[in-house]
Each structure stands twice: as structure tokens, then as C-alpha cells.
Assembly symmetry: D2
């Protein structure tokens, strides 16, 4: 395996561009890596903004044409933080050009494109990654460890909700509210994380969507900058579905952009025969764990602070116990794992590739069919 | 309206018989009532147990034949705490005999019987009541007050789950695990409370079940007393469904008997445009309330202790602020309201009658059809 | 030991009179007792109120002269819920007359009287009890069990606070705000419970008060019914002190009547070498327990619902798991234990007698001296 | 005011050296600053470690002689993260050499040295800063804003505890356990933060220590690397004291290194006549706020997520709402304010200088005297 520097390009420079650039700036400070990551080139649409962005975050070069990165001989890995409908075309071209690709979630805005992305990834020399960053909260990684080692036994329930509150009627129209660009609303934006966490933590796959429903509470939204005109939102502001998993678990999901006071409440609870786990991102440094063996006498949710070196994934890379981490650290942790994977080392936790993310996308697609057609949908029918 | 004593009979003497008898013993001590409730006669199947029960709880007489109560000229109100499949035959005969009937929830084990009960109640001289006791937690009543006065605005989300943990594979077979006697499992036992709370709090009705699913994790259960034989459970150990309400809310429901460490976790959250509410029975003296007007700057869940006389329903009947109440008080509060209603006074909060409980039953029935047939079901099709 | 009925008298009929009368009404319903408690006579100052009170709570007779109870041949046990300064004279006369006495806490308004009460109790035929009712929360009893069985090891910290919020400047003058009648303010009213819990749970005694301070934030209070006149409060609205215990623990205490939003927040936390415990009365059905053996990896506060029959004290007498109890149950539980003790049975948990409560009183007295004189005070100097 | 780059040196390279170096690496990415901070030189004792440290964190040069920094013409600001007893000699020489000095807390190991440091700071051209970093949690800053704007009114209670659990008997001897180097144990290490927060948030000063006590539970500790020998710890493992503030508040403090399961539980609660605030670092992104105007009916602790741009200090520099921050951000926020202060701009929140930190040190010193002498100590007597 090569130990050559890992030359990185980034397409996108908004919120996610910042989060990823920060990860790149921090990763070497907190992790010992097999390859040195280099911030080579960033691509964005607004040249002026882009210049400032590149300077602030230490990108060597910048361009407003994303295909420059496709043909750039100097790049090993390209990181995509563009709107969902662009993931496909960009990832496929990049993979064909031999790059490794790390793509923001969800994999794509529709299942067909996602399928093509998987095909391209299979045929490519480079590797693919998808930024399901919440896997990299130490508390989530620890939950994975507990489940892997059999601590909660056969899983009976998965209960996931991802609730935010920014989607009220005053929020202006954007690509996130258009099916064409986003594919779906809360479902793909938030529910995708929940489905990934459910699959990741249980190590299990979905077999059936028993029912689903989405609501567009606010079909009209103001156009930014325009006083009287309104834009048409045609995606779900909130979405819920019920599913079964192969191992038999009953799984429920809800995603919403209009569920205040939840602001970024990515919660998942898993009840097994031997124990239960509960994670809520708004209290991200803790895992709630119940060992059923404690019984009613001494048992209940244990509030575990997941910051102890040696005990909890990534904790040894950061600060002493209970000197908590924040949102941004999930990206640093994941980038460290990507660099490890590309340097021949095992990542600390499994990394989702396009194939993996495609399984999540199939669940979302099945849920959308179930909602549209008002019927149960078998996962085997969605490919 | 009469102010004559209210002569009460009770059919059933197990857990619920105890809870109701206690309510009868306590209600006059804490409430000033228009009629004096009298514990006249209790009916149960085990004569010996019954005698001790009657003595302990102050019942004047006891009998092992429930029809004795039907023909008992001395009774004004009969309280039914029998298994679900007996509610119908007993309530109908009692109503025909001119008694008031207070029936444990759910209304019945099937929708057909429930419908007949409603018909009987409509034709009867007596009044009907159904023991959806959780309405009578002061925190729930306060939530109702807040919603009634418009404090949370248009409702977007209802999110209800009722999770317990006693239904593991060692729990022996009983009427609660047989469709014939119970009608359903967690759905009718726990979900009925959730649906009632959703309807009560929102003042809204369901229009459609979008999907539903139940799981019988443990189809075989030990027979109490028998070493090798097993009983067949044919009801759901856990059940989930998704619904819409007339006002447009997306409503999700989950009930489980196998979701430890939740023991009696009857939780409902309602998100509106102007605010949100959250109640969890395991912390029953508090209501979580968010006034959206507080904004992100100063807002969030307010943890409101619902024990202040004048501020919170029933609080003035009990103890000083934060000298909390427990499970049993919900029954005392409800009995007080029943006695008030039968004495010509307004109850503090609306009381569910058979017609009201039938609307809840329709939701449960629609959810069962949706689960069985794997499709969305309109409430208008279930009558 | 006699199994004769236990004939009970009560002096006082306000808030505490209600709580104790309720306990008397309930205790036989939920406990199997060696003697039948009988509500014989209640004493209060307002004859009219008293008549209604007696009727409501089932007292056979009533009187406005407390000495009637001293000479009443028909009484076995007299329950005192009078203001603190009356405890002494009443208890001593009653004990001398051969009655058992159950006295509200604190033992008295001053240490001298308390000492005399102990002397009287030692010389008496009857037994003495003091209503430190919080010992009888199942969660507190369970904490005692855990500590007794060595589960938290050597105790390093006791941290107790009892915070309420009703003592603002609008609260009218009453006996509770006068040193003459109450002895102290928050210290004796609330801090007494904290000291009792600390002594009860640890099984340890205090050796020294290292420092103490009380504040009278509102020395002037309105006189009830009088518009312009003000009463002089000369007791502490808030009080704090630091102590050492024989076993070496550092113990801190704070009591306040002006610490909103705490309404009845009686909290105690104990940190030992092998584990920690935390109880808060505003969440009275739970105990927070940390087993240090769980380590940082899997450990943390366990939120234990203390309602399981067989597992938690008194739970078998009430309702199923997580069908919670309230404030009033602490009195029923304690009365059951008193009746057991007077019927020759072991109480479920140790009962505080005058001697025991006197040790608590010595701590309060030492804290008052420390506050007044601005110096450390050894417990051995306060007798 | 100059806009020249700010050339920075750092003395110390352990845990705190990392936290400060990280702040330096991040500050320009998230803040627009009047001067460009430059990482010029780092000083540590272990040359080999130091080289790696300097490389990892981007320090231009490194040295093992701290006086090199005193005479370094190229430095504007020197950051001290050395053991407490070195703060004085280093800060004084640096100030005399015209440097700005940012010193870790507490100001010094003893009050005499602290006084000299203040004198030096007053005579110096450079400015002084002390790293009371917890002021820079957005939730703490927001609490300060609320108090400043009168939202909680007259303050009655300050209740602070800083509890950790790493100080058990297996923890080896270090400078932190020796009075000579640390000055005190939990008091100066943890209590210093509590006292600073109390002073900062209330804007008030202490007038008297009413009592204090420290415990050395483990006077013997293993020597790192030595099997049989033990070191003598002569500092407090836990410390508590009670104080009054000028405005009349009763203030209680407790610090411990042996209070598991608390790991880094820096909690402060302030109760005022118009409201209350509560902050706990283990849930650092939230502030609990109670507006007394909400009353018992609708009021209680509001759980405020302090991450909204414009609403909460520093939030606009980081991530969207509820995409939480961690421990390290407190240092970045503070460094940004230091650079602003040195560039002629107002810091977002007041910065503690040596004079300010000296007031905190006086409180600690008075508490130590009170503990030693077993008596109340007026602050006016400690200078």
C-alpha cells in the first residue's frame, strides 16, 4: 500500500464544504495517519467567495469548473458536497477518471442514479465512501461495539427519529425543497441518516416497508430576494415509515423539519432481548445503555459518557474524559478512517461505500413507493 | 339532578379491581361531590379471594355471578374491569337494565361488539364511561387546557409510544395473549391509551391509517402451572402504525410489551406551529412545554411541575406544589368526574363515553386491517 | 406482643393532619398489619373546621383541648403534627401518660427541649417515633439497602440540598417564620430531612460542623389579613453548612425556601469508593445508582425505577412496576412500619425514635452555633 | 491600534499545550480577527517530545529554555500553561520584558505570588489574561447576557460544584498533588473555575467565607515508575466552602477529584428573584433557564440549546443550530477574544486579567484560611 501523500479535491463550499475543510485541517493534528492528506483544490460556483474560502481553509488552488478536478492528474481523492442530484454525474466521472470519491449523503436524489453510481464504483480502480458521519460519534461507535459483541442480544425494536425545526413557512425556497434536485425532503436529508444508523448498528438489512407517509405542510415558500413571488416545494416536510428487518425487528422511522423544539435531534433507540441502547445527537457525548441482566432491581438506562481513551472509539485521539466533542469531530474521525483505508490500515469502524449507501437508498425508495401507493413494499422489489 | 347516594357495583377484582376500589375509598376524602358514592357489591370468580377483597376494600356485598348486578335494584352505576371480550355482553345487559356503566378500556375486543355497545348506550337511560384514566393525570389535563386555548397552534405532529417490558418469553399465557379474549395485544392494551390521548388532546379525529404492522415475537408461552405444555399467543407483542388526522397532522404510534427498560412509558408528544408538548407517564407529574414564541434564544422544553392548585387540573384536591401524585390518583380523579357528571356537575375534563371510545376503537380496527392487508385504510371505511 | 387494635389520636389538622389521616385511612388496604389501627380522636383549634375534618377523615371523636388526649384511656398512640415548639410539652405529657408518641419532625424547636423529650422517651413505657417520612420512599429505602450491603463502599461525599420556592416576600408571616415557635427556618424545616437522610443512609454520625451560614432575605413579611402591618421574620430563609462524618465523608447541606424553580427538591447524593447514589424527591420513584465496577466504558448513572415487588421496599404493597407512587405514600409506608413495630414485627426499614431524631437535632444545633459564631463546632460539644 | 501579526510563544506542551495549540490553529478559520496570530515558538522540557509537538501543531521554533522566550524580540504574546508555581516567575519576567501574557488558571499557587503578578501586570506595557476558559462556553456567555440585562433580578443563591473522579488511590503522584507546586488540590484546580464563574456571572464580589473544609482522602500515592515507594500528597482531594457576596447572595462551593460518576461536571446554578440559571459542562451546549414570570402554571427549567447565531455568543462563528460544540471550542473562543483585545476590538465577553484572577485567588486563599483555622474569614482581611 502506498504511503504517498493523499491529494484531495473538494467540490462544494457551503456549510458542508466548511465542515469537510475543517476535518482536513484537523485530522493530522489528532490522528497518526499512514498518508499525509493534502488540500489541493476546491471547486465552487461563486469565484469571489471561493477565493476567500480557499484562503481561509488552506486549499492550494480553486476553480469554478468541477470537471477540472476530473482531469486533474494531481488528485487522488475527490470529496463531493454538492446537491444530491449532482452526486451521480460527478461521482461517476471521477470514478472513471480513477479517483477515489467521498460523497455526501444521501447517495443520490433517485434510485436509478444511485444504481449507476454503484455500478461505476464496482468497475472503478478508486474506492468510494459516503459521508454518513454520525457513525463516527464515539457514542455511536461504542453502541456498534456493544451490539457486535452480543451485549443486547436479538434485536426486537429499532426506533429512529430525526427531528429538526428550521422548515417553517418563512424558510425560503432552495434546492432542498425541490424533488428534482433533492429527491425528497426530510426523508432523504434526515431519514437517510436514521436508516444508515439502523443498518450500521444492527448489522441487519430491511425486508419490507409496511407503510409510509409524507407531509408537505408548506407547499409554497418565499423565493429568496423576491418579495411577492413564491416557490413551489414538492418534497416532504415530514415523513414516517414502518419496516421489518431480516432478524425480525420492528423498525419505525420519522423525519421532520418542522418539529420544534427539536433542532438537530437525531435519535435512535434499539431494544434487544439482553439490553437496550439509545443515542441522541443533541447529547452526543453520551450513550444510554441498559444491560437487561441488571434486572428491575438495579437496572435502567445507564448514562455512559463516551469519552474514555481505550473504552470508546476515537476517544484516545481527543481530550480527557468528559471534555466533550462536538459536531465537527464526526467529520474529522471519518476522514481519519478514510485516509487509513486508503493507506492500507483498518478504519476504526466500518466505512460506508456506494454499495452500502445504495442499500440505504433502496430503503428510502421503497418508503417513497409505499407512501405514494399506500401499500406495503418488499425491499426485494426495489433494485 | 339527583343528589341521592350513588350506589356502585364492580365486576372484576384483580389489579384493576384494586385500582378502582381504591378510587372509591379515596374520592370523598379529596373531592367535594354532589352525590355520595357507596360501595355496594363486588363480583369476582373466586369466592374466597372475593370475600377477602370485599372486606379489605369495604364492599358491602359480593357475588360470583355478574348477572346479579344486572338485576340488582340497588345499583346506580356498575364498573366493569373484566377482560375485553366480556365488556360487550356485560355493558349491554347493564345498560338495558338502566344502570350507568363505567367500562375499562379498550371498549371491546372487536369493532362489531363495540358498535353494539354504542347502540346500547344511545338507547339507554344510563350513561356510559370508559376508563381512559391517563386523561386524568394533571399534566395531561393541563396539556389539554393549553391546546384548547390555542397555545400550540395548528398541530403538525403527534408522536405517541407506550412501551412496557413484561411480555418476554417467560411470561405465561393469559387472556391478554389470546385474540379471542383480548382482541389484540399491545395495540389494544397500550395503543388504545395512546389513541385516546391523541384524540383527547388534539380534539381532532383520524382520517387514515397509512400503514401498520404488528409482531408476535413469542407465539409460544408457558401455561401457568403446566411444566411442559405451551400456550399459543396470537396477538401482537408490539405494534406500530402511521396515521393522518383531519387537521393535517402526521401521527405515529408504537406500542410494545417487550421494550425494556421502559416499564410503563406512556409517552405522547405534540408539535404545533406555536409550541410543543410532551408527556411521559414515568415522570407523570411534569409536562414538557415549549412556547415557540420563546425562540431559539430563550426557548426549549420547559419542565413544568403540574401540581399547583388553580393552575393544573385536580391539583387543588391533593397536596402542595411538587408533593407529587402517583398512578392511583388518575382513577380517583376520574371517579370524581364521573360522580360529578352523574350529579349534574361539569367534570373538570371531558369524560369519554362509549361513543367516544368507539372512535378510538375504529382507529385500532383500521390499524389492524392495515397491518393484515398491507395497505392504507381510510377511517371512513371502518364503521 | 399484643394484637389488640391500635387506638390512635391526632393533634393537628392542617396539611400534615391531612397527610397523616390519609395514611391511617389507607394503611390497612395496602398492608397486612399485626394490629388494626383505629382513628379515635382528633384535636384541633378551630372547632368548626375540626368537625368537618373529623367527618371527612373518619375520626370517631374530636376535641379542641389537646390534654384530653393525654388523659384519654382509650388511646394507645398519639400522633403530633403541631408547630415545633409544642412538640416537647405535648410529647412529654403523652409519654408520661403511657402513650406511644409519633411526632412530626424536627424533634423540637430547640435542643434543650429535644433533650428533655429524649429523657422522657427513655423513661416511658410507650415508644417514640419521628416522622422523617422521606426514609419511606421506596427509592430511599433501596438506597439504604444498597449501602448496607456494601455496594458503594467507603463513603467520601454526602451532598444534600432541599430547595423550595414558596418563601418570597409576599408570603405572609406565620409560626414558621418565628424563632420562638419554629426554632429555625429552612434549616429545621427542610435541612432536618437532609440531615436525617444523611444519617439514615450512611449509618454514620456527624463529628464536626466546619462552617455554616443562614440568610434572612426577607425580615419583614405581611401579616395575613392586615394591610399595612408587617411581621418580623427572624429565621433563615436559606441555610448552608459543611460537616464531617465519622467515616471521613465530607458532607455539604443547603436548604432554601427561595430557590425557584425548585418546588420540593429534596436531593441527596452520596459518592463512595465503589459507587454512587442520587435521590431527588421531585422524581421520587427513581434512584440514580452508579456501580463503579461498570467503569468508564459501560458505567454512569443508572436510572432505576424503584417500583418492583421484591426488589424495592414497599413496592409489593402497591401497584405494578412503574405505576408510580406519590408523596402521600411515604406516610402510609411509615405508618405501616409503626403499626408493625407496635405489633411486634420488624419494620421494613429502621424507624427513627426520639433518640435518633435528637442526633439530627444536635447537628442542626451545632450548625446554628457555627453560623452564629462564625467558627467550626464539634458535635461532641453539643449535648 | 496595531494590525500587525501577533507573534505568539507557548510555554508548556502537555494537555493544556495541546488545547492552546489547537486554538491557535483554529482561530483564524472561524473568526475574522484584527491581527494574524502566528505560532512562533514553543517551550517544553523534553526536547524530543517537543520537536514532534512543534511539528504537529505548526510551531515555527522550539526550545527547552523558557527564558529564551523572555528575551525573544519576535514575540508579542506568551502563553503560559505550566504548573501553578511557575506562573509567577515566568509571567513577571515576561511582563517586564514587554510581552503580553496569557496565563493558565489559577493565577498562582499562593496569594503572595499572585499579588506580585498583579503588581507586575499593572506596571507592564503588555496586557495580561488568565485562561478561565469556561466563560467562553456559549451557554455561559448567554447566562452572563441574561444576568446583565436583569432577567433574573437580585441574586439570592449561587451554588457551584466542580466534580471529577480521576483522583482515586491508584492515581500516581504528580505536581498536582503537592502543595509546593499546585498550592492546593481540587480547590485551585477546579474550585478556581467555580469561583471565577460565580464572580463573572453575577458581576459581584465575595465578602466573607463562612466556613470551609478540605479532605485529603489519599495522602499516599504511588510514584509513577516506582513499585514500592509512595509519594505524599498534601493537597485536598475535595474541598467545600460557604460564602456571602456583596449583593447578599448565599454562595456554596464544592470541588472534588473523587466524586464519580461525575467526570468533568462543572456545574453552577444561580437563583434570583426573577429567575434562575443552571449550567453543567457535561451538557455544555445547553443552559437551563427559568423565567419566574412564567409562574408555576407554565414555568420550570427551560432547556435552551445555546447554538443560535445572533442569539448566543460565538454561535455565529461555528455551526448551525444544535450542531454542538465541545471542550476545545472554549479555548478557540477565548483566543479570538484575546486577539481582538490586542487588536483594539472589544472581546465578545469580558476577559479576565491578572487583577481579575487575583480576586478569585483571594477567595481561594480565604477559603484555605477558613479551612485551616476553622473560622469565618472576611475577604477584606486577605490581600
Amino acid at each position: 500500500m502506498t504511503t504517498a501523500p493523499l491529494r484531495i479535491g473538494l467540490i462544494g463550499q457551503k456549510f458542508m464544504g466548511r465542515a469537510h475543510s475543517n476535518a482536513l485541517g484537523q485530522v493530522e493534528r489528532f490522528f497518526d495517519l499512514p498518508r499525509k492528506p493534502l488540500a489541493k483544490v476546491v471547486c465552487g460556483r461563486d469565484a469571489e467567495e471561493l477565493r476567500a474560502f480557499a484562503e481561509r481553509w488552506g486549499w492550494e488552488r480553486h476553480t469554478t469548473r468541477w470537471r477540472d478536478l476530473v482531469v486533474d492528474e494531481e488528485l487522488d481523492l475527490v470529496d463531493l458536497v454538492t446537491p444530491n442530484h449532482l452526486h451521480g454525474v460527478q461521482a461517476i466521472e471521477l470514478l472513471k477518471a480513477g479517483k477515489h470519491v467521498a460523497c455526501e449523503k444521501p447517495l443520490s436524489h433517485d434510485i436509478e442514479t444511485a444504481r449507476e453510481m454503484v455500478r461505476a464504483a464496482k468497475q472503478a480502480r478508486g474506492r468510494s465512501f459516503v459521508w454518513f458521519n454520525y457513525r463516527r460519534c464515539p457514542a455511536v461507535g461504542f453502541a456498534w461495539n456493544l451490539i457486535q459483541s452480543g451485549r443486547i442480544g436479538r434485536i426486537l425494536h429499532v426506533r429512529a427519529s430525526y427531528l429538526q425545526d428550521w422548515g417553517g413557512p418563512e424558510t425560503p425556497m432552495s434546492w432542498r425543497f425541490a424533488k428534482k434536485t433533492a429527491g425528497s425532503g426530510a426523508l432523504g436529508d434526515l431519514g437517510a441518516h436514521s436508516v444508515d444508523l439502523a443498518r450500521f448498528l444492527t448489522g441487519d438489512e430491511f425486508t419490507q416497508i409496511h407503510g409510509a407517509h409524507g407531509k408537505t405542510f408548506y407547499p409554497e415558500r418565499p423565493l429568496a430576494g423576491a418579495k411577492k413571488k413564491v416557490g413551489r416545494s414538492n418534497v416532504d416536510d415530514a415523513f414516517a415509515f414502518i419496516a421489518s428487518m431480516k432478524g425480525g425487528a420492528l423498525a419505525t422511522f420519522e423525519a421532520s423539519r418542522v418539529a420544534g423544539p427539536h433542532q438537530n435531534d437525531n435519535t435512535i433507540e434499539i431494544n434487544g432481548e439482553l439490553g437496550s441502547l439509545r443515542f441522541c445527537f443533541e447529547d452526543m457525548n453520551r450513550l444510554q445503555f441498559c444491560d437487561a441482566a441488571d434486572g428491575h432491581r438495579e437496572g435502567g438506562w445507564r448514562s455512559v459518557m463516551c469519552t474514555s481513551a481505550g473504552d470508546h472509539p476515537y476517544a484516545e485521539n481527543w481530550w480527557p474524559d468528559a471534555h466533550g466533542l462536538g459536531y465537527e469531530h464526526t467529520f474529522v474521525n471519518m476522514l481519519a478512517d478514510i485516509v487509513c483505508a486508503l493507506g492500507g490500515r483498518e478504519p476504526k469502524l466500518p466505512l460506508p461505500d456506494f454499495e452500502d449507501a445504495y442499500q440505504t437508498q433502496r430503503v428510502l425508495a421503497a418508503a417513497q413507493i409505499a407512501a405514494k401507493e399506500g401499500r406495503a413494499v418488499k425491499l426485494s422489489s426495489v433494485r
